[in-house]
Structures are given as structure tokens and as C-alpha cells.
Amino acid sequence: MAAKEKDVLLKIRDLRIEGYSDEKWLEIVHGVDLTLHRGEVMGLIGESGAGKSTIGLAAMGFARDGCRISAGSIEFDGMELTTTSEADRRALRGSRIAYVAQSAAASFNPAHKIIDQHTEAPIHYRIRKRLEAQEDAMELYERLRLPNPQDIGFRYPHQVSGGQLQRAMTAMAMACRPDLIIFDEPTTALDVTTQIEVLAAIRDIVEQFNTAAIYITHDLAVVAQMADTIKVLLKGNEVEEADTETMLSNPKEDYTKSLWAVRSFKRAQKPRPGGDATPVVSVQNVSASYGDTPVLHDVSFDIYAGMTVAVVGESGSGKSTTARCITGLLPPTSGKIVMNGVEMPPSYKSRTKEQLRQAQMIYQMADTALNPKVRICDIIGRPAEFYMGLKGGKLKSRVDELLDLIELEPSKYYSRYPPELSGGQKQRIGIARALAAEPNFIICDEVTSALDQLVAEGILKLLDRLQKELNLAYMFITHDLATVRSIADEVLVMKQGEVVEQGAKEEMFTPPHHPYTDLLLSSVPEMDPNWLTTVLEERGVDNIGEAAAT
């Protein structure tokens, strides 16, 4: 260790950061220490609100608007960032410390070509002239295995796919050959098949240039592939730190163990009801298009009472479009939707109130799906009044009953507003609102993907309990196969608007699979630190992710 002491690149001691809210400063990071050596990759993991990004940005001497570094020291390569001038701190950014953001699509400026954004820093710091910088960019694009490395930089961000943008952003971070890169959830917004590509590219390039990195994520399996050491954070405090192997095999703290155990929730698969049972929802040969662009091709499946059908696939595969067809928001161009044996009019406009009541939806972003200015009791009460005609005392007792059902104490939450609730509580309100219409079928559109793992597990358990008690049928749209494994009875795999494979869950998770299902399944990161290497070896370097998908 003594020899390594010289190689310390970043030394953070007792870092405290405050955030401004409700007209006062509140501490959000409570004295965190961090030591990073040259060429080392440290994973920072924790739930949202743990302070991961805030600490990552502080390593660049940067605090977001409304935040400030209140105490502690941040020493980068012998330079104290908390006391040095803003100009000196700025001179480090982009040149010696670079940042890779969560959403490359939002973090590239839509008004400029990708390569012009890439070369901005090297030209600004006079490291390279424009032409040299462009050639260097193309070389980096090639190393990151971007298609057409000579031309791709001359496109605008919206002309390039999300996975490619994320790699272009990694290339941009490399432009000045920094000593340290902060990766802030770089693959969270990507599909599994794209994620594996980006992970491989990031790991290669960080190794090639011996760059140190802080890798921020909430996904343990991902961090296991990338990091040498892992630090677990909870609400601005360090929980524990250890090298990756030890952390995975032998976590010390209870909180870490609970994180590790999250993926264990699993319920048994239920068989289809036999005989002549009528499906609650039957989608029959449905095709649909947006304008002249066809998006769904001949989709058929049935959902029976008390059963969950999970619809999986990458973004753009037609999962949500199928839901829009069922609810009548997007009338199909051909085929029909049958509910409990009755054919539905194609458009919601011509459905009766009773027909509309049968199918309800729960949305991905509870934040935007609940009106922030309306009280909880009115949010839940509105469908109960509209569909069931409840009023006055009856309405109030029904709302109380619904709140009980979603495990929120009625007296405490009845007259509160959505912004006062946590993410998981908001999603529970979304569930109660759907239940208020007393539907027999609920579409859950990525309901857990915006939530932390522990909270998501709670929601899954609640949905499972409600299904048992109320005999509900669920259509569960997700891109997360772990969720499918835990809650589904039947699975529908979609790709480019077509159903690739469908069947009972156990069958889907046992080989042989359709090649695309196989690709999806094998792209889900596992906790084994050697998983990425193994998968890449199996697939061959030129045959990962998007390349394999086509």
C-alpha cells in the first residue's frame, strides 16, 4: 500500500455538501471520505437521494445550482479544489477531469454537430488544432466501435441512436486524455442489449488509457462488471467500502445485504384457467400505425382473470403502443380488442363509460401522472365518483378503504398533496386511482423502472397481493427481465412491432429460446464480476449488442 500512496489521484476528506430548499440550507452529504488511485475504477452505488451524483460532481470541484460544498477537502493530484480559484477549477474540467452524463441524448447540444462538441475542449485548451482534434475524435470513435467512425461525428445528436450517443460522449470525455472520468449512470437510460455494448466500450477504453474513473450507478450487477472497488452510500453517508470481490461475496452491513437480496422476490407461476374460460382481454390480430408509419404488426394474445402477462422488448418495440390500442387511445388499423367476450369499439371516444371502466392504467412516472395541485383524496375520489357514482360519506369511506388497500394510513394521507410524498408512495396513489374504478384489468406501464430497487420490490409485492385479493388481470409492460421473472405468469417478447415469442414464464426462461429472446436474456447483467467478459467472449467482439440484434 505504501508504494501506492504516491499514486493517489483524488483524495476527498470529510466532504459536506448542502442543498438549498424551503429557504434554508440543509446538509445532504454528511462527511464522506474517498481515495482514488491512478487507473483505479471506483463504483459508487446507492438509491436515489444517496448523494452519488453530488459527490461525483464535487470531485470536479463543481456544485449544481442550489448546492454548495460547505466543508471538507477535495484534493486532486495535489491541488486543493475547495480553496483554489474558480478559474483554476474550470481549467481542470474537460482537460484533466471529464464527465459522462446519464442521458447522452439530453447532454449533447441539439444545435451543434457531435464532432464540434467533441473538439470544443481540446481546441479551447490548445491541446490540439481543429483538424488534429477531428482526426483524434475519429480514432476514438473507432476504438469505441462506433459505426462509420469517419462520418458519424458530422451528424447532429438527434440523428444518432441513444447507445451510439452514449459512446460518442465517452469518446468526448476522452478528448483531452483526462486522468479521471466521472461516469454518472451512463447506461441507465439504455436497453439491455445496448447497455452491454456501452459497458464493454467504456471498460475497454478506460483500460487502454489507464484512466481512473468514478462509476456512479444504482445497478449492482453493472457496477460489479466495471469497478475495482465499490463504495455503498445511503442518504449522504458512507455505508461501507471494499474491493468488488469482497463486497459481492461478503457484504458486512445490513443495508448492503438488503440491496443484494432485492432480486429475490419471486412468486410461483399460475397456470391458465382451463376449459372454456373467457379471457378478460383478448387482442386479436391487431395492427396499428402512427400516421403512415406502421408500428404494430398482427399482435395477438389473451389475458385471463388473475393472471399477469409481461410484455418485454426494447424501447420502440411496440409495448406501449399495444397498450394504447387496448385502451382505445390509438385505434388499430386492423384486428380487434375483445374484453370479457365483448368486442370494443376501436376508439375510446365511442366506448361507453362501463367499457372504459374495465381497463385502467398505471404509469411509469408517478411524478407527472399525478396533478401536483390536487389533494390525494380528490385524485382517488374522482374515478370513484365518475365511474361508480359515489358521493359524500360513501365516497369518503371508499377513498379510506382504497388508501388502506395500498398500505397508506388514510388519516395521514387523505388530504395531502402529491409533492409531499416519496416516489414509491406516489406510485401507490397511482395504483389506488386505477383501483377506484373497480377494473378487472390493469395495464402497468414500466411502473417500477423509475423507482429504487427496494421501493420497486414493495410495489411488486403490493400488486401481487391486490391481484390475489381482487382477481385482477395485469398487462405488465417492462424492459427489466428481473421484474418479469418475479411477477409474470406469461411472457410476450416484442421486437419492432411484432411478437417474437410468447408462452408461459417458465418456458421462456428455459432454453431453447428464440434467438432474440436469447439475446435479451443473456444481456441482463449478472452479479458475477466476470459476467461481462464471459458474455463478450461467447459472442465475439464484433457481435455484441445492436450488432447481434440485427
Binding site: L57, M60, F62, R64, D65, R90, A91, L92, R93, G94, S95, A98, Y99, A101, Q102, S103, A106, S107, F108, N109, P110, A111, H112, E120, A121, H124, Y125, R155, Y156, H158, Q159, M172
Partner: protein, 318 residues
């Protein structure tokens, strides 16, 4: 780009329809004015026979709807009729006045638009500073004061107390261009003061609105200097709302100048409109209003096209 052409054609079609509706509204509004055109033309001393002959000559005895249709038939062929007062063709009466108004509007716009945008960028950069507040208060004061009041203040300080510029902006044919600029400086400055605030504040707001975007944070984290973050990363994405406000203000420079023209006795279209309304000179009023309406329609269309052309997603489709 064919989409843009489609939008332009569609909007031009709707614009023609709007003009038609406006012409109907104006015609009947003028009809509703009390008094008699023949009386206005001939004066108080006219005898009953003279008035009768005059009405006959002007066609005032025909039903209103018929007169409107006659006018419309002419207008479609480009003939907007003759002034009821001077008997000269309307186009001949309006053309020189409208040219004067356009000149004054361009003069003001050439100063106001760059000043407003540059100031807007500077206050966005120095937001919450003293400079920001002073610029805000000053421009707000100028936008809140009526134009005629601003005009008189400028005359008081820049023409009377310090005789740098002429107080009256009357024109003659033998002036050089520099003389012309000097003569019309005060009315142009008045209008600049009125429109700068609006455009500056919109520039500031639309830039600041973008500062929370991830790509702005990214630019900062690449070590980009603050001014470059604003000019290179925020401004190119802020054009759409700025262009809209600029277009609205340009329209105002052409249509809203009546008071300024009166204060500085400037022979523009605004004064002509006021005179014609008092004399119930319908063909002139109608033509002036249609010009104003067309100005609004064309500038708004230009703003929409501008907003499309500055959007990289629409300019460089996949």
C-alpha cells in the same frame, strides 16, 4: 423543406381569408360612424342640392352591401378605389406615406433588434447582478411610459435644452440620406425605447430557461467559459421564442406608430389613417387597415418559418 413550403402556402391562404374578414369589419365600422361624408367634403356652407349631387357622385345612395361588393370587386383586381376627399387613387395617396413609415420602422428596427438581443445576452450572463437589475428597471420604465410622453421628454432634452436633433421630423425631397437620418432620429429613438425592453427580456428569459438543461451543465463540465456557454450553447437553442417576439415588435413598429408620428409631425401612414377616419374617407381607411393586417400576418408567418429554420431537428431530418 417541402413541409415548410406547405406551411407557408397554407398560412398565406388563411391570411387572405383573414384580410377578407377584416375588410368587412372595417367597412361596416366606418358605416356606423355618425355624420355625412358629403357634408364633410363640402363643409358647413353647402346647400341641400350640392350635398345631394355630391352623394350621387360618390355613390352613397346605393345600399351599403352593394357598395362593399363593388369595392371588393375592384380590390381583387388591384384597384382600391379613389379617396372620397381628394378624388386621387388610394394607392397613389398611400404609397409615399407607407414608404415613409417603412423607412422609420426599419430605422428603429436596425437599432433596436441588435441592441435588444446583445443586451439580453449580457443580462443573462450577469443575471442577478446590479447591471441586470438596472437594465431591467430602465427598459421596463421605457416600455411602461406612453410613446407620446417619451417623445416629448426626448424633444425636451435632445432638441430644446440641447439642440442636437430637430424636434419636427418633416421631410422634403432634396434631403441627403444623412440629413434624413438626423431629421428622423428622435421618432426612431422613441420607438426603439418602446420595443427594446420586450425583446431584451424575452432573450434573457429564453436563455435562462435553458440554463438548467443537461447539455448546458455538460458544457460547463467541459470547462467552457461562462460567456461561451451562453452564446454558443444556449443562444442557438433559444431562437424560436426570441424570433417570435422580434416579429411582434416589428409589426408594432409599423402599425403602432400613430402617436409617434403625430408628436413628431412625421408624414407616415399612421397620420394618414387618423385623418381619413375623421373625414370618413372609407377607401383610404380600408386600405390602411388591410396593410396593417397584412403586416401582422406576414411577420407572424416569417416568425414561424424562422423558428422552424433555427430548429436543428427540423433543419437536419434523420
Amino acid at each position: 423543406m417541402t413541409d415548410v413550403l406547405g406551411i407557408v402556402l397554407k398560412r398565406l391562404g388563411l391570411g387572405v381569408l383573414t384580410l377578407l374578414v377584416i375588410s368587412i369589419l372595417i367597412f361596416f365600422a366606418v358605416e356606423l360612424l355618425p355624420g355625412d361624408i358629403a357634408q364633410a367634403v363640402l363643409g358647413q356652407g353647402a346647400t341641400e342640392e350640392n350635398l345631394k349631387a355630391m352623394r350621387e357622385q360618390l355613390g352613397l345612395n346605393e345600399p351599403a352591401v352593394w357598395r362593399y361588393l363593388q369595392w371588393l370587386a375592384g380590390a381583387i383586381q388591384g384597384d382600391f378605389g379613389s379617396s372620397l376627399i381628394s378624388q386621387k387613387p388610394v394607392t397613389e395617396t398611400i404609397a409615399p406615406r407607407f414608404a415613409n413609415t417603412l423607412f422609420l420602422a426599419s430605422y428603429a428596427a436596425v437599432i433596436a433588434v441588435p441592441v435588444a438581443i446583445i443586451l439580453g445576452v449580457i443580462v443573462a450572463l450577469l443575471r442577478e447582478s446590479i447591471f441586470d437589475r438596472v437594465a431591467n428597471v430602465t427598459t421596463l420604465t421605457s416600455i411602461s411610459s406612453p410613446e407620446f410622453f417619451l417623445g416629448y421628454i426626448l424633444i425636451l432634452y435632445l432638441a430644446v435644452k440641447n439642440p442636437w436633433f430637430p424636434a419636427i421630423a418633416s421631410l422634403s425631397d432634396d434631403m441627403t440620406f444623412l440629413e434624413l437620418l438626423n431629421r428622423t432620429f428622435l421618432p426612431a429613438l422613441t420607438m426603439v425605447l418602446v420595443v427594446v425592453a420586450h425583446m431584451m427580456r424575452m432573450t434573457r428569459a429564453s436563455i435562462i430557461n435553458l440554463l438548467a438543461s443537461p447539455y448546458i451543465e455538460m458544457a460547463r463540465l467541459k470547462g467552457t467559459p461562462a460567456w461561451k456557454v451562453i452564446v454558443k450553447h444556449a443562444l442557438p437553442n433559444a431562437w424560436a421564442p426570441i424570433i417570435n417576439v422580434v416579429a411582434l415588435n416589428l409589426a408594432y413598429l409599423i402599425t403602432g406608430v400613430v402617436l409617434v408620428e403625430v408628436v413628431f409631425v412625421y408624414p407616415g401612414i399612421g397620420q394618414l389613417l387618423v385623418d381619413s377616419v375623421t373625414k370618413r374617407d372609407f377607401p383610404v381607411v380600408q386600405a390602411c387597415c388591410l396593410i396593417f393586417a397584412a403586416t401582422f400576418i406576414l411577420l407572424n408567418l416569417a416568425a414561424d418559418v424562422g423558428a422552424i429554420l433555427t430548429n436543428p431537428r427540423l433543419r437536419h431530418p434523420k
